[in-house]
């Protein structure tokens, strides 16, 4: 469904991504991990059209979308959330979600978009806050809003950027449940960047590991957790040897 071919992205002298290739099949839930600065969010930005790669290609459902602007990528059905949440703070929750319902791949008029938005808000568990200004939500609620907003464009591929970060254990549990429900009800393919490894290990079928902009490992969560290279990247060589 999604293929990255030799993606390279440089910022000035820094190579944020070097020859990263990967592929994601329809219906999968793939985890993307790596230490800070390893290029995870950069890879999301390249896929979602925030900036084009310097080299390589992104192919989505057989179509080369390299260099497409973000609105065009969104209309093809790729949605993303932001690591640092970016709700439209001056709008209510409904107003936030109806934007994607109108401009994504869905509704034609505002009334229908509002209805769709309210369904999604109910689905992510923000029903009682539908008419609250987004700036007055808690972090956990803002993250749910980001997810509802991403779902509003009716995506086939969902890129989740650290939806668990900053949440307490109970909220993480709630978010894991929400992701499971999203897969069940929308049948959407998901790639998620995550630092909360325990959560990732129990949700993902496959994990891709980045380090310093390169892909260093890929496989089932259990294999990845046992991979000496991955352990050395995260915990240092001493742990890998032991």
């Amino acid at each position: 469904m999604l293929k990255g071919i030799n993606i390279t992205k440089r910022f000035g002298g820094v190579t944020a991504l070097r020859n990263v290739s990967f592929s994601v099949n329809a219906g999968e839930l793939v985890g993307l991990i790596g230490p800070n600065g390893s290029g995870k969010s950069t890879l999301f930005s390249v896929i979602s059209g925030f900036f084009p790669p310097d080299d390589g290609a992104v192919v989505f459902e057989g179509r080369d979308i390299t260099g497409y602007p973000s609105h065009a990528v969104a209309r093809l059905g790729i949605a993303r959330t932001f690591q640092i949440v970016r709700p439209f703070t001056g709008m209510t929750v409904v107003e936030n979600v109806r934007v994607g319902a109108l401009y994504g791949r869905g509704e034609r008029n505002v009334a229908a978009a509002d209805r769709r938005a309210r369904e999604l808000i109910e689905f992510v568990g923000l029903g009682q806050h539908a008419d609250t200004l987004a700036r007055n939500l808690t972090l956990a609620e803002k993250k749910r809003l980001e997810i509802a907003r991403a779902l509003s464009i009716q995506p086939r591929l969902l890129l989740l950027d650290e939806v668990f970060a900053g949440l307490n254990p109970a909220e993480v549990r709630g978010a894991i449940d929400l992701i499971a429900r999203i897969r069940r009800e929308f049948g959407v393919t998901i790639i998620m960047v995550e630092h909360v490894l325990k959560a990732l290990m129990e949700t993902c079928e496959r994990v891709i590991v980045l380090s310093y902009g390169e892909k260093i490992a890929e496989g089932a969560p259990a294999e990845i957790a046992a991979d000496p290279h991955v352990i050395s990247v995260y915990l240092g060589k001493a742990y890998a040897a032991g």
Binding site: S70, R75, F82, V99, G104, N109, I153
Partner: protein, 335 residues
Amino acid sequence: MWRVLSGSFALPTPDVMLGIGLALVCAAVPLATPSAYALSFLFTVFMYGALAGSWNIIGGYAGYLSFGHAAFFGLGAYTTALLLFYFGWSPFLTLPLAGAVAALFAALVGYPCLRLRGPYFSLVTLILGLAMYSLALNLPFTQGSTGLFLPFLKVDVYTSHIIFYEIMLALLVIVTAVLRQITHTKMGVGLAAIREDEDAAGTLGVDATRLKLQAFMLSAFLTGLVGGVYSYYKSYLDPSFVFATSISITIVLMALFGGRLTWYGPLVGAVTLSVVNEVLTTQAPPQTARIVFGALLIGVIMFLPDGLMSIAQRLLPTLVMRRAQHPAARDETAL
């Protein structure tokens, strides 16, 4: 552009009824044979209301603060004036051209300018207004600072005042209707998203480049129409007034003062500031108007960043909510 503007028209809501009522009352004012002074003052109020409203499409809804709208106003004014001066074509017939010329100019400059954000966009538009002024001053066919003297309407002065009064009122109604309609359509939703966070809007499928350009062109078109009527009304045209930076800035201040997030805010701002200005310039000692004007603006910007209308918006929902919450509050005490 028109497709996104045409939402579904429902039964008139209270705000529409009130608007239609006010417009009808204003339209009937000439029946009371007011003084020519009163007519010309109201003409100016309507004109600034229409200008602030037109500006609000790009400046308020999209959040791109243009400080160069005099460029569109002046282009509209010169379009009808030159066609009348050289070809004898009536401005009432060539008015759409005034809007079209302004919109075309907006398309040309908007494409590069709208890539700039925040103060950079504002600065470039400010310079644009100044550039148009210089151009009009130095082109041979505009007759520079000598200006153009236009033929009068072939009716007596008082009747012509009434005609221009009604036409400007009609323009104000059109602008206000467009402004209100936008908030109920896809275009308004997209522009608000751009104002809040343009990058996030993109990830939701909003084509910001295209939508901003459409809003800028629509804003310029309406501003051009107002300019096109103005030159004929004045029957004399020179670059220093229609391309004046002070017009650009007055429009911005009126919209900000009234509240740029609502469709009626710019109109309220235009009326309030026009009246304050008129009363103080005619009744108070010289320069009082400027001092009060400045103090009002500082007050609004410091304490009501979303304009005068934000008070109304803040108060109304609180009142409604209080009523709605009342039963819930009672339940709590029962527990």
